[in-house]
Subunit: 373 residues, 2 copies
């Protein structure tokens, strides 16, 4: 497919950066997004203004594009499955990943390492959770579907589980062993339509309030662990269907064990630095993969730190401090054009390039403090 049109379900910052990658390769882009003049539309994508879950909008997207993909996993798999247009990666993979319990089972079947888990029978929650406490010690209860940025996850103690169940309502749940970890790691991995796989160097992700706050590339870990993490990500991609970029998030446990936490079937916050720091960005890589172009090199050009710019208030955007940020060495600012600013809303990110990742981290934290939005 050359010179075609790419359809993306979702036109937020990920859709915007996919658009930035698609246009210079000669593709036009159409996105679905409910927000008028969404971030991707500002960067040149045509926009179908509709809910991401609107099957009519998805059919309309498919009818005017050559391949359909997504920037967010919380969308209607059924609507994607019946389309006459290519859909990448496969809706089946999306369906598996959307249901965290199915995802975990798939990983176990593939022989990949995950924390111990068990299904919770909605009719026997108390008994099941009790069993989990006995088997796993500390546990975390998770919604099977719909959670992201930590939403839908709840740590529980034996004495407070009933309140938790009330908060989840009718959502289907499962329970996982709560594993003490030293670090969270992530590997961005890409698959082309032929099944060729290319993984990026492993990064460390640092979360605050369950939202990705800081990414350090490369991760400061033992080379053996690094190699293992990349190997696990590579193998995981081999068990997924369809072409595109996936993020494999892992825990490095206190016992130096690697466990897959979850898979994102899309470009991911833990790969934003690849625009500046790698030979091919995750966004271009995804566009290449879904349009049947060859994958690009994932080689690291420079160490980098990425820090998210999350809203710290509610109100109209009022940008201050950009000049101070840009006067710091190696800074690259990406604002997403969102309006208004909201608490915890992802408004942009800053990437800092440096020969030393620790120096990049220090500059990134300083840069973030200089900026208000």
């Amino acid at each position: 497919m050359e010179h075609g049109r790419v359809g993306i379900v979702g036109g937020g910052q990920l859709g915007r950066m996919l658009t930035d990658a698609a246009l210079p390769l000669g593709f036009a882009v159409t996105v679905i997004d409910p927000v008028e003049n969404c971030p991707a539309a500002q960067a040149g994508a045509e926009q179908i203004q509709a809910s991401l879950k609107d099957p009519d909008a998805i059919r309309s997207l498919a009818s005017r594009t050559d391949v359909v993909t997504w920037e967010i996993e919380d969308i209607d798999v059924t609507a994607l499955e019946g389309l006459p247009t290519a859909v990448e990666p496969s809706p089946y993979t999306l369906g598996t990943i959307q249901d965290k319990l199915r995802q975990k089972r798939m990983l176990v079947r593939a022989g990949l390492p995950v924390a111990a888990f068990m299904d919770l029978d909605p009719n026997r929650l108390d008994r099941d959770v009790d069993m989990a406490f006995k088997a796993f010690g500390a546990v975390i209860i998770k919604a099977r579907t719909g959670g992201y940025d930590g939403r839908g996850n709840m740590s529980v103690r034996p004495d407070n589980s009933q309140g938790i169940f009330d908060r989840f309502g009718d959502t289907q749940l499962y329970v996982e062993r709560l594993v003490p970890f030293q670090k969270e790691l992530a590997v961005i991995v890409a698959r082309d339509v032929l099944g060729n796989i290319a993984q990026y160097p492993v990064v460390e992700t640092i979360h605050e309030n369950n939202i990705c706050h800081l990414v350090l590339a490369p991760a400061g870990i033992d080379p053996r662990i690094r190699a293992d993490a990349e190997e696990i990500a590579h193998e995981t991609a081999g068990h997924l269907d369809g072409a595109g970029v996936f993020a494999i998030e892992m825990f490095l446990t206190d016992g130096d064990e690697l466990l897959i936490n979850e898979i994102a079937p899309r470009v991911h916050n833990s790969g934003h630095h690849t625009i500046e720091a790698n030979a091919t960005s995750q966004f271009e890589q995804h566009i290449r993969a879904i349009t049947r172009l060859p994958l690009g090199s994932t080689e690291m050009i420079s160490p980098a730190a990425m820090i998210n710019i999350l809203g710290e208030r509610n109100g109209p955007v009022a940008l201050r401090g950009l000049g101070r940020v840009l006067s710091l060495p190696g800074t690259h600012v990406h604002l997403y054009g969102k309006e208004p600013t909201k608490m915890e809303r992802k408004m942009g990110h800053i990437v800092v390039i440096s020969d030393d990742v620790e120096e990049a981290r220090v500059i990134a934290l300083k840069a973030r403090r200089e900026l208000t939005i």
Copy 2:
């Protein structure tokens, strides 16, 4: 100025890449361009569809933006001078540069090296050219205004000058010594509003039919000559008014002398590789400069070769070979979204990143051969 709107006269590939640089810094962009859905508009710029020389369009652009700049020098300086909005770089500088004879005189006054030249009196052309032949030996006659990509330049021999004059018609002319050169070099240089200057490493430009064909970064020249070229560019920028990016094109003569050929008061084809190969691209640098943000580092991240994708036929765009290009190591493709393809039209460019500039050149030439558009 933070969170404002940038106005650009011209929305071709340079306006498009300026737009790509402006949006992530939080700026909106409006361009003037006569072509419906021009390259910059496709990348998210608002477009005023009008002639670049339409003073009403320029006033309208100024009324809706916080700073006005341009991507092409062949525009109406008078219209720019009366605007109530900031204009960068200064219209006075643009006026000087538009008239190549005034430009040359400015450079001579500044003590900067240029080939010998003289004015041609339209009433005594034969006599004046005769005088030039005697003084300079081989000469080249140039139109004072309106020429670019070599248009408006004519080599003449003593026996064919009359035919040349007929072809120029009423255009004002001047004559220059035709200097045999080994290489053409270029230095991109940026000035901020305070007069701080940052120059990029010198590159070699290789022209075909007077159009920039290939850029090699860094130029394969003696370190002393490299330092001199960068010093000359730095000094030249010191004699220009206003903020922004300028390209200083030079000849390295057969006698190892550096002569300034001409100045482009804008981002330039010889700086396209800076998107991938330098810490700050020329496009972001220009946006920073004109919006009163600090200049970024011009440091080279990697050697690179840039090759233009010029149209080789007339007709609708029909892209072929993109996959083969992207399977070559280090290739980055930038298509401009122009329609239709025309002979010699700048349809896109390819940048190749490599540890070795000679290897980058070989891959760039191969990549260009693989692609048809």
